[in-house]
Each structure stands twice: as C-alpha cells, then as structure tokens.
Symmetry: C2
Subunit: 365 residues, 2 copies
Amino acid sequence: MALSDRTLLGPGPSNPYPEAVLGLSAPILGHLDPEFISVLDRVCDRLRTVWGTANPLTMPLSGTGSLGMEAAFANTVRPGDTVVIAVNGLFGRRMSEVAARYGAEVVAVEHAFGEPVDVQRVLDAHPSPAIVAAVHAETSTGVLSDIGALGAAVHERSEETLLVADCVTSLGGTEVAADDWGIDIGYSGTQKCLGVPPGLAPFTFSERAWRRRVETPPVWYIDLGLLGAYVRGGPGGRAYHHTAPVGMIAALDAALERITAEGTAEVAARHRAAGARLQDGLEDMGLELFAAKGHRLPQLTSVKVPDGVDSAKVRGRLLDEYGIEIGAGVAEYASTVWRIGLMGHNARPDRAELVLAALREVLGR
Amino acid sequence: MALSDRTLLGPGPSNPYPEAVLGLSAPILGHLDPEFISVLDRVCDRLRTVWGTANPLTMPLSGTGSLGMEAAFANTVRPGDTVVIAVNGLFGRRMSEVAARYGAEVVAVEHAFGEPVDVQRVLDAHPSPAIVAAVHAETSTGVLSDIGALGAAVHERSEETLLVADCVTSLGGTEVAADDWGIDIGYSGTQKCLGVPPGLAPFTFSERAWRRRVETPPVWYIDLGLLGAYVRGGPGGRAYHHTAPVGMIAALDAALERITAEGTAEVAARHRAAGARLQDGLEDMGLELFAAKGHRLPQLTSVKVPDGVDSAKVRGRLLDEYGIEIGAGVAEYASTVWRIGLMGHNARPDRAELVLAALREVLGR
C-alpha cells in the first residue's frame, strides 16, 4: 500500500525536522552505554537551553506530553493540597482532572475559551495554595498566556507555592524562560514546535519543587527520585530505572541541535512570521479568528468555521485532495472552530501560503 | 562525531529488525488520521496474534515496558487488595513495589534467583487473593516460568482472581498463549524479542479484568477506560486521549508484520536454536550457566563470571574492542553474572558465534 506523506498543519504532531528523522534512524545504543549517556547528557543540556533554566532535573520523560502533566502532579500533590488551576481551554480542564486524581482540592478558575489567563483572578482564587497551574500556550484555543506575570505574582505572595506550567505547544516555538518566570515544574511534548515525532515529554523541575516533592509518589514510572538517579547519576554511577527510549532521545537530540544552532530567539521569530502571515491571510479571506486579539499563538491559529460550512467536510477535502491535515476545535467548539498549526519545521511562509491557497479553493473564496 | 554501531547482546534493547527501522522513517501521520487509525487497528490485531488472545483491549501503551507494569496494577488494585507476587528476580521485586504503591497488601513469594516460579508455593501463599502476578521470562536471571500451569491452578481455585503476567522478555521470542494460559493482564516491551526500539508497552487486558477494573484509576495517562475509547472507538468514533506515538507504532507494525509472516512458532524455534548454540558454546568454554537447567530462556542467557575475572573489565573490552554489548547481572549478582541476549533480529547463529568468539579471546579460553 502506498504511503501518504501528509502536511501536518493541525495541533500536532507536526512534520518533524529532517534532522530528527535522521536521528531516529541512527544505530540504537544500550541505555547504559557510555555513548548513550553522553547523548542523554547533551539532550538534558540542550533542553535547559530551550527551557531557559539551570535546573539539574531537566530531562525527557519516557512518554508523550500528557505523561509530563501526570508527572508534574504525581510528584507534588499531597491529598488535601489546594491546587489553583487556570482553566482557559481543554488542557486546563485536563490538569484539573489529573490533579484531582492525586487528591488535590482543585480550585478551577474558569475563563472563557479563547481568553488568556487573568493573573489577578487566579491570585484571588485562594490565599495560600500549594500549587498554581496554568497553560502557557493553550493547544485547544490557540491562546498565549503570560506565565512570567503569573509566576512573579505567585512567588511574590509566597515562597512556598509551586508554579506548574504546561508548555506543550510553546516549547521550541515561543520563548520560554522558566527560571526568570518562576516556573517550578514545566512539561512539554516533542511533536509540536520541537519538531520530533511524539513519544517524549521534555520536563523540568526546580530546586524548590525538589524540596517540596512527594518522596514516594503513587506512580513508580515517573518517580523523580528514581528517575533522577538515572538521569543525573550518583556516587555509584547511573542507576537503571527503566529502559530509556534511546531512539527517540537521539531524534530529540538532533532536533535540539538544529534549534539551538538556529537560536531560540530566531526560531521564535520564525514562528511569529509564519503565524502572522497565516492569520493575516485568513482575515483577508473574510474569516474570523477565535483567540482574543493580542493573545494569539503564532504556532497555532484558531479560526471560526464560517456559518453554513461543514467543518468536517472541509477538513476531509483538505486531507484527501491536498494531503493537508488541520485540526477540528475541541469540546463545545468541535465543529465551529478549526485549528491550524505552523509548528517547528512547518513554521515557514510556504506552509502558510499552502494552507491559505487550499482553503481558498475549498471554501470558494 | 562518528556513530557507533553496536551489536546489542545484553538484556535489551536489541538491534531492531530492519523492517522496524524502515517503519520508523515512514512519514509521520496525525493520530486521528484515518490512515493512522488503520495502522493502529492492524497493530492491535497483530498484537493479538503474538499474545495469543482475542481480548478486544490489546494495544501498545505509550511508554516503555515498565509503564505496562504500572498500568497492570493501576487499573486493578484497590487499596487493601491482596496481591500474591512470585518473586524470582528483579522484576518480581519491582512488581511488589509497584503494586504496593496502589495500596495492595503484597504477599511476596520469594524464590532463589535463578529458579522458576513454584506454582504450589504461590497457590499456598494466600487462599483468596485478588490478583496473582508472576514474570514469564525473568530478564534479571534468564529464567522461564510456566505461566500456563500457574494460570490453570489460579483459575481452577477461583473465577475471581486475576492473573498478571510480565512478558517483557518473552513476547516475540517465546510463544505466549494468553487466553489458553488464563493471563488476564499481560504487558511487554518492544525493545527485546519484538525487535523494535524501546518506547512502547504491548498490553492486553481480558474481559474478566475489565469487569473487575478500577473505574477511575489514580493515573490518568494509563486509564484504560479513556484509552479504550481511543483504541477501540465508540459510537462517536475515536475519542482523543493523548497523542499516540505514531512513529513508534509504525515501527512496531512493521516488526509485527515480519514476525507474523515468519510465524510465531518459527520465530520461537529460531530463538531456541540460537540460544542453545550460545549455551552449549559457553559450557564448552568451561563457563557455568546461572539459571536452573530445564528453565533457561533461549533469548537471554545468564552465565556466571569465572572466579578471578573482573566482570566490568570484560564487558568494557567487549564493547570497546568488538562493539558488543552484553549485560551485567542485577542486584546481588551485579558483578558475578553476565546476561547475554539473542533477541529478535539477533536470534541468529552468527550472533551466537560472534559473542562466543569474542568471549574466548577476551577470557583467553
């Protein structure tokens, strides 16, 4: 059967960087091989660069971005802890569900979908939460929130509160400055702006988070005490925890080499340029953007489906006739919003023009 | 920097089948793309073949084999449940630790390392456990246990008890007959006899397990209710849970195509032939095998380090001079046992002869 070669302009996965594809086909090394340990150390260093952090515990977790979310709460929530969560999309909702499974008293601060996080409302929700959590780049709505402002406010009020930030759709596309912003626990996924196939969750955990962590979390697989003994090593060397996904880590290494060589600021500028071109083009076509003006992600554009247009039929035609995948909306916006991603290797003007041209044809505009 | 091309003859990862490497470099598809859903369905079908099961809930979990162990207990243990675990190596110990994190009252039935599971002792350990768990192929010791005999005994005594089997090192190398043997929950990893890089956990869950499952497990990422809605679909189609590692799943698909074309019985015979050649050769060299005779895994041979020989130095020379990785022992046998794997693509006479020749040289035998 012939293979299809899609142009992946949905909310992720994106088409990987060519370097990542080459990295995937490198010979497999053992997870305790000194050469692999060098690769892992380099990946952790490069992740520190894109996260903007000096955290020793910065590494790829062995699962997709959602496992990063799980690890954030599994290692920090004690039953009865108050966790304030800014909910302005599906992934804020998901955080609430995951935190609750670990026994958190979740205070969800609901925002209209399409709006950024309101720092004051989050602060006012509870005077002394154990954790405050928010999504930097809401994949479900295409909205960017100001995590730096949230971090400053949270930490100014208390040295004890931990800040969790979901950076699944931002890392590698929008600049993240975890240390400057006061992010204590950050997680991401590889299949969006980092330009690697799905399967790893880049993760960072601050010294403050380490001091306040749950020593024996309910989940063994993402127990940071055990993982740290492998990733950081100790007096006895690297302690085996589980077999690291060595091939995926080599692919991430290759993509991070490309991203850091281009420069994180330059990569972010490339995403902004591509996103602006797409968003201008959509408005020129008479379409209405969904996310609040001034808070739109360049790497993921949400746009309203015009009245009378069948969302699924348009997506189907783009896929079948043009090989282009774009995303539906989520939850209550499933059939009234489209999501168009220009992430990682796809953050380029030609991809913006391609999807605009295809949409013009299909919509007859 | 030049890439090293290792011959991976340790306890895993093994060198992947060439088909799996090709599968990895296939174009990435979206996780909701109809073409990817076909790939996923085919993978689940092929997994049912190698598992020897008709279980609808048979799929690759998005993490390494250890995530499979976590999912087995996360979805079945209620606090206070009695879980009888046969411990005849590191992975039985690990099962005990993981089950305990979910609140199990663990009854560990300790065996000497190197011995197979004693069915009667496991039965006698508790009259009515909720779960009985054992390792089919102990990666830490090279021992094969009779899961079919254990399953028959457990289910004859009670229709209610669930049987968990760790098949990380057996699946794809030794025949597994999950339905015939009464395995309710089985998990594996891709990086051993299945001949795929590490990153997925093939998993199967019986109807009996489904009826007795924890409806809202503490861990969201491996909640089988949510995962089932994506993998099996429902009236509304495939419900998004998390972004499936599409590239790894394509690689698994390619390896399973090869394995099922060769035939699972033929693949097992190939593993037996390679393992016998290696084990005979080691004994001819005057080395002593560690695992009990009659219960030795062909795909993973444990052998005692001769007196006066520095285990780590030998492994280092094999790696540096021959590019061959073999494994150390684990726990109390770390420096007194080697583990030599002939798994998946490496289950071949030439690989057996290669490691024998290299060992002869290095040991001066």
